[in-house]
Symmetry: C2
Subunit: 275 residues, 2 copies
């Protein structure tokens, strides 16, 4: 099969793949750019927010729209990258009358069953990464977790995924939920910890960038040893003296004090209640 060829039992797509993006947020932006780079044609970009639709449409040099009724049928694949809360409703609207198309969503926490009873060929295409509109990522190294409602659909999704990534993994909706939860811990909560560090430093006139070698090494370590083995600091040492001192430094931030205690207790359950 040629690389632009997708086949289902009933239909065949030969030649250039055409994709329509439903949603124009961080993920849609980076995905659209990566797909375009490997020769996929971005047919249309929809977002209910005009600024987002226009901005991504212009970036990808394609038609953009805010009125879902104006979506045309030219694309082979429709990819939903929207807030979970509006996904189901949009799926119903977009799938209607397009039974020959392939529909995918990119949500870590939404099951594939969102599509059930609404169309014939569907699946999930979840590239696990933290996306920002303005910071480009190299999709090659991003693991893409896929799921599909049939073997033939899976084959099509896998080939789409391999166009942009070297790592494509089949995963069920149930497992993907835990993957997404883990990603929140490893990325979103981690970034919040950076944010707290940055605030504390800035308040005391110390530039955040002095922290970067430490942050880099913390990341580098867990490429080589497990996070449990890599754990250092006052909590794992059981150093109550330092912990109590540090709690006092955050006297004006009860929220941070509470978090500090809980995180320390997570690291070392043997820590008694601190002062």
């Amino acid at each position: 099969m040629s690389s632009g060829h997708i086949s289902f039992k009933s239909i065949k797509f030969v030649g250039m793949m055409k994709v329509t993006l439903i949603g124009a947020g961080n993920l849609a932006t980076q995905l659209g750019k990566s797909l375009k780079k490997v020769g996929v044609i971005i047919s249309q970009v929809y977002s209910r927010t005009e600024a987002s639709a226009k901005s991504l449409g212009e970036l990808l040099d394609t038609e953009w729209l805010t009125d879902i009724a104006k979506l045309h049928d030219e694309a082979d694949i429709y990819i939903f990258s929207v807030k979970d809360s509006v996904l189901c409703e949009l799926i119903s609207e977009v799938c209607k009358g397009r039974g020959d198309k392939l529909f995918l969503h990119t949500a870590g926490s939404m099951p594939m069953s969102c599509f059930e009873g609404k169309t014939k060929h569907y699946g999930v295409f979840y590239p696990m990464q933290t996306f920002s509109k303005t910071k480009d990522v190299n999709f090659e190294n991003i693991p893409v977790f896929i799921e599909s409602n049939s073997i033939e659909t899976e084959d099509a999704i896998r080939r789409l995924a391999y166009k942009i990534s070297k790592r494509v993994i089949t995963l069920s909706s149930a497992e993907r939920k835990y993957l997404h939860l883990s990603a929140v811990w490893a990325c979103n909560f981690t970034n919040y910890c950076y944010s707290v560090a940055s605030d504390l430093l800035t308040q005391h006139g110390i530039p955040f960038d002095v922290m970067l070698p430490l942050i880099d090494e913390t990341t580098d370590k867990i490429h080589k040893i497990s996070p449990k083995e890599a754990q250092t600091g006052p909590a794992v040492r059981g150093d109550r003296n330092v912990m109590n001192q540090q709690l006092k430094l955050m006297e004006d931030r009860e929220d941070l004090q509470g978090l500090y205690q809980m995180l320390s207790k997570g690291i070392n359950p043997h820590i008694e209640t601190l002062d």
Copy 2:
């Protein structure tokens, strides 16, 4: 002045620097290796734990001891890298009768005043990094925060620091406390988040290494944009649907549920109480 030359008002060290390490933990191990590599002579290694003393002594090919009374006076500089709780007592013992020596400690949260009234030449040498005995670090990129009780002492400490690091910064004890607190957030708590992610994945048969590209990108981002700008995920989007779902996935872990709620609230204070 030659590079091996340290001068105080009253004393002079010319030639090879000789350092004795008080403590044989993670930091002492990495510091000792780095100092030895640049030609500093490691005179003795002390630890009250025989296994640690022996192991580092052998690693650095030098004398090791567990009896502080056997410490000799051959070194120019004595560096304390021990638990905060024993630091003051050890300082009193080691400084006694060694008024011509330079004494340093490497503790982020201990003030320089630990040395006050106990000796003449002293200071702090705090390399901000997460150290493990078994994982070597490149000291060159580690910022070393120094403090001293006189201009002459500072000059000596700075030259010692520049032997192993490209970034040497003078910082007061009061500021260093906040630096250390920030390091706990940016490194120790971050690593704990990795640890939680690892547990969740392992429990569901997913290998932790699928998380590494996401973790690398999370780190890479804050080299280019601030942590606040880099924040992504359900909390900052105000996506209560995902957050409530994820809380349910942790039903058997009340500790993680509590942390999840507090961290999400930290990221987005506008989040109402979750289900």
